[in-house]
Protein backbone atom coordinates (compact mmCIF):
# COMPACT_ATOMS: atom_id res chain seq x y z
CA UNK A 1 0.00 0.00 0.00
CA UNK A 2 1.22 3.43 -0.86
CA UNK A 3 1.08 5.75 2.09
CA UNK A 4 -0.85 9.03 1.86
CA UNK A 5 2.29 10.97 2.77
CA UNK A 6 3.96 9.61 -0.37
CA UNK A 7 1.06 10.62 -2.64
CA UNK A 8 0.76 14.09 -1.12
CA UNK A 9 4.48 14.66 -1.38
CA UNK A 10 4.63 13.66 -5.07
CA UNK A 11 4.70 16.44 -7.65
CA UNK A 12 2.28 16.14 -10.62
CA UNK A 13 -0.96 17.38 -12.20
CA UNK A 14 -4.31 17.37 -10.53
CA UNK A 15 -7.41 16.07 -12.31
CA UNK A 16 -8.70 19.63 -12.88
CA UNK A 17 -5.39 20.66 -14.45
CA UNK A 18 -5.52 17.65 -16.74
CA UNK A 19 -9.13 18.37 -17.76
CA UNK A 20 -8.28 22.02 -18.51
CA UNK A 21 -5.19 21.02 -20.49
CA UNK A 22 -7.06 18.40 -22.51
CA UNK A 23 -9.94 20.85 -23.13
CA UNK A 24 -7.54 23.54 -24.34
CA UNK A 25 -5.78 21.07 -26.60
CA UNK A 26 -9.14 19.87 -27.94
CA UNK A 27 -10.26 23.43 -28.64
CA UNK A 28 -6.97 24.28 -30.35
CA UNK A 29 -7.13 21.03 -32.33
CA UNK A 30 -10.70 21.70 -33.41
CA UNK A 31 -9.79 25.23 -34.46
CA UNK A 32 -6.84 23.93 -36.48
CA UNK A 33 -8.96 21.26 -38.16
CA UNK A 34 -11.73 23.74 -38.99
CA UNK A 35 -9.18 26.18 -40.39
CA UNK A 36 -7.79 23.51 -42.70
CA UNK A 37 -11.27 22.39 -43.78
CA UNK A 38 -12.25 26.01 -44.42
CA UNK A 39 -9.06 26.52 -46.47
CA UNK A 40 -9.81 23.35 -48.41
CA UNK A 41 -13.39 24.45 -49.15
CA UNK A 42 -12.27 27.93 -50.24
CA UNK A 43 -9.61 26.43 -52.51
CA UNK A 44 -12.11 24.02 -53.98
CA UNK A 45 -14.66 26.77 -54.53
CA UNK A 46 -12.02 28.99 -56.19
CA UNK A 47 -11.02 26.12 -58.50
CA UNK A 48 -14.69 25.40 -59.28
CA UNK A 49 -15.38 29.05 -60.10
CA UNK A 50 -12.35 29.10 -62.41
CA UNK A 51 -13.47 25.90 -64.13
CA UNK A 52 -17.05 27.17 -64.39
CA UNK A 53 -15.85 30.40 -66.00
CA UNK A 54 -13.66 28.45 -68.41
CA UNK A 55 -16.29 25.89 -69.43
CA UNK A 56 -19.10 28.47 -69.35
CA UNK A 57 -17.26 30.82 -71.71
CA UNK A 58 -16.46 27.90 -74.01
CA UNK A 59 -20.16 26.92 -74.20
CA UNK A 60 -21.30 30.50 -74.75
CA UNK A 61 -18.82 30.93 -77.60
CA UNK A 62 -19.89 27.59 -79.06
CA UNK A 63 -23.55 28.68 -79.03
CA UNK A 64 -22.68 32.07 -80.52
CA UNK A 65 -20.64 30.40 -83.27
CA UNK A 66 -23.47 28.09 -84.37
CA UNK A 67 -26.80 29.29 -82.98
CA UNK A 68 -28.75 27.25 -85.55
CA UNK A 69 -27.63 24.04 -83.78
CA UNK A 70 -29.11 25.25 -80.52
CA UNK A 71 -32.14 27.34 -81.41
CA UNK A 72 -34.68 25.08 -83.02
CA UNK A 73 -32.01 22.40 -83.43
CA UNK A 74 -30.89 19.50 -81.30
CA UNK A 75 -27.43 20.12 -79.84
CA UNK A 76 -27.45 16.69 -78.17
CA UNK A 77 -27.15 15.16 -81.65
CA UNK A 78 -23.84 17.01 -82.13
CA UNK A 79 -22.57 17.09 -78.56
CA UNK A 80 -23.18 13.85 -76.71
CA UNK A 81 -22.54 15.54 -73.36
CA UNK A 82 -25.48 17.91 -73.76
CA UNK A 83 -28.79 16.73 -72.33
CA UNK A 84 -31.96 18.50 -73.37
CA UNK A 85 -34.03 19.09 -70.25
CA UNK A 86 -36.73 21.24 -71.83
CA UNK A 87 -37.28 23.33 -74.96
CA UNK A 88 -34.37 25.78 -74.99
CA UNK A 89 -32.98 24.32 -71.77
CA UNK A 90 -29.86 22.21 -71.70
CA UNK A 91 -27.74 20.56 -69.01
CA UNK A 92 -24.16 19.37 -69.11
CA UNK A 93 -22.93 17.19 -66.25
CA UNK A 94 -19.34 17.01 -65.10
CA UNK A 95 -17.45 14.63 -62.84
CA UNK A 96 -15.20 15.62 -59.92
CA UNK A 97 -12.36 16.51 -62.27
CA UNK A 98 -14.60 18.66 -64.46
CA UNK A 99 -14.67 16.13 -67.26
CA UNK A 100 -18.01 16.23 -69.11
CA UNK A 101 -20.17 13.13 -68.69
CA UNK A 102 -22.43 11.65 -71.32
CA UNK A 103 -25.30 9.20 -71.08
CA UNK A 104 -25.67 9.29 -67.31
CA UNK A 105 -28.90 8.11 -65.72
CA UNK A 106 -28.65 9.33 -62.15
CA UNK A 107 -26.93 12.73 -62.11
CA UNK A 108 -27.32 13.05 -58.34
CA UNK A 109 -25.04 10.05 -57.84
CA UNK A 110 -22.85 10.02 -60.91
CA UNK A 111 -22.13 13.72 -61.46
CA UNK A 112 -20.43 16.30 -59.27
CA UNK A 113 -21.32 19.46 -61.20
CA UNK A 114 -24.13 20.54 -63.50
CA UNK A 115 -24.11 23.38 -65.97
CA UNK A 116 -27.54 24.64 -66.98
CA UNK A 117 -27.92 26.61 -70.20
CA UNK A 118 -31.15 28.42 -71.03
CA UNK A 119 -31.86 30.12 -74.35
CA UNK A 120 -34.63 32.68 -74.41
CA UNK A 121 -35.90 35.01 -77.10
CA UNK A 122 -35.62 38.62 -75.89
CA UNK A 123 -39.11 40.16 -75.98
CA UNK A 124 -39.47 43.11 -78.32
CA UNK A 125 -36.21 42.42 -80.18
CA UNK A 126 -36.67 40.28 -83.23
CA UNK A 127 -33.80 37.81 -83.65
CA UNK A 128 -32.13 38.63 -80.32
CA UNK A 129 -31.59 35.74 -77.91
CA UNK A 130 -30.37 35.65 -74.34
CA UNK A 131 -28.11 32.88 -73.05
CA UNK A 132 -28.46 32.22 -69.34
CA UNK A 133 -25.71 29.96 -67.98
CA UNK A 134 -25.44 28.70 -64.42
CA UNK A 135 -23.19 26.09 -62.88
CA UNK A 136 -23.98 24.15 -59.73
CA UNK A 137 -22.20 21.86 -57.30
CA UNK A 138 -24.52 18.89 -56.94
CA UNK A 139 -23.14 17.51 -53.66
CA UNK A 140 -22.59 20.00 -50.84
CA UNK A 141 -19.15 21.28 -49.93
CA UNK A 142 -17.84 20.22 -46.47
CA UNK A 143 -19.17 22.51 -43.69
CA UNK A 144 -21.90 23.78 -46.04
CA UNK A 145 -25.06 21.76 -45.92
CA UNK A 146 -26.34 23.16 -49.20
CA UNK A 147 -26.80 20.73 -52.08
CA UNK A 148 -27.01 22.08 -55.63
CA UNK A 149 -25.19 25.26 -54.67
CA UNK A 150 -24.83 27.82 -57.46
CA UNK A 151 -21.17 28.46 -58.23
CA UNK A 152 -21.34 30.82 -61.17
CA UNK A 153 -23.93 32.55 -63.32
CA UNK A 154 -23.48 34.62 -66.45
CA UNK A 155 -25.72 35.85 -69.22
CA UNK A 156 -24.92 36.82 -72.79
CA UNK A 157 -26.79 37.67 -75.96
CA UNK A 158 -26.63 36.63 -79.57
CA UNK A 159 -28.20 37.65 -82.85
CA UNK A 160 -29.85 35.13 -85.13
CA UNK A 161 -30.82 37.36 -88.02
CA UNK A 162 -30.23 35.42 -91.19
CA UNK A 163 -31.63 35.38 -94.66
CA UNK A 164 -34.38 37.95 -95.12
CA UNK A 165 -37.26 37.36 -97.46
CA UNK A 166 -38.14 40.58 -99.20
CA UNK A 167 -41.80 41.46 -98.66
Amino acid sequence: MVSMEYIKGRKGFTLIEMIIAVALLAVAGTVAVRLFVHAHVSNRLAADIDRSVFHGSAWIEKIKASPEDWIGGDPSALESVVSVSDAGSYVIYYDDGWQPLSGIRDPEREAAYAMHIGLYSVPGSDGLWAIDLRSFKIKPYPLRQKPYEEIYAVSAMLNTIGEVVEP
Partner: protein
Protein backbone atom coordinates in the same frame (compact mmCIF):
# COMPACT_ATOMS: atom_id res chain seq x y z
CA UNK B 1 20.13 24.46 -13.50
CA UNK B 2 18.51 21.28 -12.34
CA UNK B 3 15.15 22.14 -13.96
CA UNK B 4 16.80 22.43 -17.37
CA UNK B 5 17.94 18.84 -17.32
CA UNK B 6 14.52 17.54 -16.24
CA UNK B 7 12.34 15.85 -18.92
CA UNK B 8 9.16 16.41 -16.99
CA UNK B 9 6.45 18.15 -19.11
CA UNK B 10 8.44 18.11 -22.34
CA UNK B 11 5.76 16.08 -24.17
CA UNK B 12 3.12 18.64 -23.16
CA UNK B 13 5.27 21.43 -24.53
CA UNK B 14 5.75 19.45 -27.74
CA UNK B 15 2.01 18.89 -28.13
CA UNK B 16 1.30 22.57 -27.42
CA UNK B 17 3.91 23.62 -29.96
CA UNK B 18 2.52 21.28 -32.59
CA UNK B 19 -0.95 22.68 -32.03
CA UNK B 20 0.29 26.27 -32.20
CA UNK B 21 2.11 25.47 -35.44
CA UNK B 22 -1.01 23.75 -36.80
CA UNK B 23 -3.14 26.78 -35.98
CA UNK B 24 -0.56 29.14 -37.54
CA UNK B 25 -0.40 27.03 -40.69
CA UNK B 26 -4.19 26.79 -40.68
CA UNK B 27 -4.49 30.58 -40.57
CA UNK B 28 -1.95 30.90 -43.40
CA UNK B 29 -3.83 28.30 -45.45
CA UNK B 30 -7.09 30.18 -44.90
CA UNK B 31 -5.43 33.46 -45.92
CA UNK B 32 -4.02 31.89 -49.11
CA UNK B 33 -7.25 30.14 -50.03
CA UNK B 34 -9.29 33.30 -49.35
CA UNK B 35 -6.94 35.21 -51.67
CA UNK B 36 -7.42 32.48 -54.29
CA UNK B 37 -11.17 32.67 -53.89
CA UNK B 38 -11.17 36.48 -54.19
CA UNK B 39 -9.06 36.24 -57.34
CA UNK B 40 -11.38 33.61 -58.85
CA UNK B 41 -14.43 35.75 -58.03
CA UNK B 42 -12.76 38.81 -59.50
CA UNK B 43 -11.98 36.90 -62.68
CA UNK B 44 -15.58 35.66 -62.82
CA UNK B 45 -16.85 39.24 -62.39
CA UNK B 46 -14.52 40.43 -65.18
CA UNK B 47 -15.92 37.77 -67.52
CA UNK B 48 -19.48 38.74 -66.52
CA UNK B 49 -18.71 42.40 -67.26
CA UNK B 50 -17.25 41.36 -70.62
CA UNK B 51 -20.46 39.52 -71.54
CA UNK B 52 -22.62 42.37 -70.22
CA UNK B 53 -20.82 44.80 -72.54
CA UNK B 54 -20.89 42.28 -75.37
CA UNK B 55 -24.65 41.88 -74.85
CA UNK B 56 -25.13 45.64 -75.16
CA UNK B 57 -23.18 45.51 -78.43
CA UNK B 58 -25.33 42.60 -79.67
CA UNK B 59 -28.45 44.55 -78.73
CA UNK B 60 -27.19 47.53 -80.73
CA UNK B 61 -26.32 45.30 -83.70
CA UNK B 62 -29.78 43.78 -83.48
CA UNK B 63 -31.24 47.32 -83.43
CA UNK B 64 -29.33 48.14 -86.63
CA UNK B 65 -30.43 44.87 -88.28
CA UNK B 66 -34.05 45.51 -87.38
CA UNK B 67 -33.86 49.15 -88.52
CA UNK B 68 -32.55 48.05 -91.93
CA UNK B 69 -35.23 45.37 -92.15
CA UNK B 70 -37.84 47.93 -91.17
CA UNK B 71 -36.34 50.26 -93.80
CA UNK B 72 -36.71 47.58 -96.45
CA UNK B 73 -40.33 46.93 -95.56
CA UNK B 74 -41.18 50.64 -95.50
CA UNK B 75 -39.29 51.29 -98.75
CA UNK B 76 -41.19 48.48 -100.50
CA UNK B 77 -44.50 49.84 -99.24
CA UNK B 78 -43.53 53.39 -100.26
CA UNK B 79 -42.52 52.25 -103.74
CA UNK B 80 -45.82 50.41 -104.17
CA UNK B 81 -47.68 53.57 -103.15
CA UNK B 82 -45.58 55.76 -105.47
CA UNK B 83 -46.12 53.35 -108.37
CA UNK B 84 -49.84 53.60 -107.77
CA UNK B 85 -49.59 57.41 -107.72
CA UNK B 86 -50.41 57.66 -104.03
CA UNK B 87 -47.57 59.96 -102.91
CA UNK B 88 -49.13 60.78 -99.56
CA UNK B 89 -49.40 57.06 -98.78
CA UNK B 90 -45.65 56.61 -99.19
CA UNK B 91 -45.05 57.96 -95.69
CA UNK B 92 -42.45 60.43 -96.88
CA UNK B 93 -42.12 64.11 -95.90
CA UNK B 94 -44.31 66.27 -98.15
CA UNK B 95 -41.41 68.13 -99.83
CA UNK B 96 -39.62 64.86 -100.67
CA UNK B 97 -42.81 63.26 -102.00
CA UNK B 98 -43.26 66.34 -104.18
CA UNK B 99 -39.66 66.09 -105.48
CA UNK B 100 -40.21 62.45 -106.41
CA UNK B 101 -43.47 63.31 -108.15
CA UNK B 102 -41.71 66.10 -110.11
CA UNK B 103 -38.79 63.84 -111.08
CA UNK B 104 -41.14 61.07 -112.21
CA UNK B 105 -43.16 63.61 -114.19
CA UNK B 106 -40.03 64.88 -115.95
CA UNK B 107 -38.98 61.39 -117.08
CA UNK B 108 -40.32 60.27 -120.38
CA UNK B 109 -41.06 56.64 -121.05
CA UNK B 110 -41.97 53.79 -118.68
CA UNK B 111 -38.46 52.31 -118.93
CA UNK B 112 -36.83 55.42 -117.52
CA UNK B 113 -39.45 55.64 -114.78
CA UNK B 114 -38.92 51.98 -113.87
CA UNK B 115 -35.14 52.51 -113.69
CA UNK B 116 -35.63 55.57 -111.50
CA UNK B 117 -37.93 53.66 -109.15
CA UNK B 118 -35.46 50.77 -108.93
CA UNK B 119 -32.68 53.17 -107.99
CA UNK B 120 -34.96 54.96 -105.57
CA UNK B 121 -35.51 51.76 -103.55
CA UNK B 122 -32.06 51.57 -101.86
CA UNK B 123 -32.16 55.32 -101.16
CA UNK B 124 -35.50 54.91 -99.45
CA UNK B 125 -34.20 51.91 -97.48
CA UNK B 126 -31.25 53.99 -96.26
CA UNK B 127 -33.53 56.90 -95.38
CA UNK B 128 -35.95 54.76 -93.34
CA UNK B 129 -33.16 52.69 -91.77
CA UNK B 130 -31.22 55.77 -90.71
CA UNK B 131 -34.38 57.37 -89.29
CA UNK B 132 -35.18 54.21 -87.29
CA UNK B 133 -31.61 53.89 -85.96
CA UNK B 134 -31.46 57.55 -84.99
CA UNK B 135 -34.81 57.22 -83.21
CA UNK B 136 -33.63 54.18 -81.25
CA UNK B 137 -30.08 55.43 -80.57
CA UNK B 138 -29.94 59.23 -80.91
CA UNK B 139 -26.64 60.55 -82.24
CA UNK B 140 -25.28 57.13 -83.15
CA UNK B 141 -24.87 57.78 -86.87
CA UNK B 142 -21.24 58.80 -87.02
CA UNK B 143 -20.92 59.43 -90.73
CA UNK B 144 -22.94 59.09 -93.86
CA UNK B 145 -22.44 59.55 -97.53
CA UNK B 146 -24.79 62.45 -97.95
CA UNK B 147 -28.42 62.76 -97.10
CA UNK B 148 -30.01 60.24 -99.37
CA UNK B 149 -33.23 62.00 -100.05
CA UNK B 150 -32.72 65.71 -99.68
CA UNK B 151 -29.92 66.29 -102.16
CA UNK B 152 -29.14 65.56 -105.77
CA UNK B 153 -29.15 61.79 -105.13
CA UNK B 154 -32.89 61.90 -105.40
CA UNK B 155 -32.79 63.09 -108.99
CA UNK B 156 -29.77 61.09 -110.00
CA UNK B 157 -30.22 58.00 -112.08
CA UNK B 158 -26.53 57.20 -111.72
CA UNK B 159 -25.86 54.56 -109.03
CA UNK B 160 -24.35 56.20 -105.95
CA UNK B 161 -22.30 54.69 -103.13
CA UNK B 162 -24.94 54.29 -100.47
CA UNK B 163 -23.57 53.75 -97.02
CA UNK B 164 -23.54 55.14 -93.51
CA UNK B 165 -21.82 54.18 -90.29
CA UNK B 166 -23.65 53.72 -87.01
CA UNK B 167 -21.36 53.80 -84.01
CA UNK B 168 -21.83 53.65 -80.26
CA UNK B 169 -19.61 53.38 -77.21
CA UNK B 170 -20.91 51.47 -74.22
CA UNK B 171 -19.40 52.09 -70.80
CA UNK B 172 -19.61 49.92 -67.69
CA UNK B 173 -17.97 50.51 -64.35
CA UNK B 174 -16.16 47.49 -63.00
CA UNK B 175 -14.32 47.60 -59.66
CA UNK B 176 -13.45 51.26 -59.85
CA UNK B 177 -12.35 51.28 -63.46
CA UNK B 178 -14.33 51.91 -66.61
CA UNK B 179 -14.69 49.31 -69.33
CA UNK B 180 -15.62 50.40 -72.80
CA UNK B 181 -16.99 48.71 -75.87
CA UNK B 182 -16.82 50.57 -79.13
CA UNK B 183 -19.05 49.24 -81.90
CA UNK B 184 -19.13 50.60 -85.44
CA UNK B 185 -21.42 49.12 -88.05
CA UNK B 186 -21.41 50.09 -91.68
CA UNK B 187 -24.72 49.86 -93.48
CA UNK B 188 -24.22 49.82 -97.22
CA UNK B 189 -25.86 48.95 -100.49
CA UNK B 190 -29.20 47.54 -99.32
CA UNK B 191 -29.77 45.41 -102.37
CA UNK B 192 -32.94 43.32 -102.42
CA UNK B 193 -31.03 40.10 -102.92
CA UNK B 194 -28.61 40.61 -100.05
CA UNK B 195 -29.20 39.33 -96.56
CA UNK B 196 -28.87 41.59 -93.54
CA UNK B 197 -25.46 40.29 -92.49
CA UNK B 198 -24.06 41.39 -95.85
CA UNK B 199 -25.66 44.81 -95.66
CA UNK B 200 -24.56 45.50 -92.08
CA UNK B 201 -20.81 44.98 -91.72
CA UNK B 202 -19.22 45.21 -88.28
CA UNK B 203 -16.23 47.51 -88.73
CA UNK B 204 -15.20 47.64 -85.09
CA UNK B 205 -15.98 45.65 -81.96
CA UNK B 206 -13.30 46.81 -79.55
CA UNK B 207 -13.23 46.52 -75.78
CA UNK B 208 -10.82 48.30 -73.50
CA UNK B 209 -10.40 49.44 -69.95
CA UNK B 210 -9.36 52.69 -68.28
CA UNK B 211 -7.12 53.56 -66.55
CA UNK B 212 -4.97 51.56 -68.90
CA UNK B 213 -1.53 50.98 -67.46
CA UNK B 214 1.12 50.64 -70.10
CA UNK B 215 4.71 49.99 -69.14
CA UNK B 216 7.39 50.30 -71.71
CA UNK B 217 10.26 49.21 -69.54
CA UNK B 218 11.30 46.28 -71.69
CA UNK B 219 12.83 46.86 -75.08
CA UNK B 220 11.08 44.87 -77.73
CA UNK B 221 13.25 42.53 -79.75
CA UNK B 222 13.01 43.57 -83.35
CA UNK B 223 13.97 40.22 -84.74
CA UNK B 224 17.56 41.12 -85.64
CA UNK B 225 20.34 39.53 -83.60
CA UNK B 226 23.04 41.93 -82.39
Amino acid sequence: MKWLTSNRGSSSILVALVLIILVVFGVLAVATSSANLRLAMKHAETVKTYYNLDSEGERFLNGVYNSVQQGREKASAALRAITEGDFSGAGLPANIAEMIRATLGSLSGSGARQRYLEELYPKLVMYYAMSAITDAYPGCVASMAGDYLENAHLYSTVPVDLHFIAGKTFILEHEGSLRYLNVRIEVSDPDKEKNLEDICAVLEWRMWQEPFEYRNELDLWEGRPE
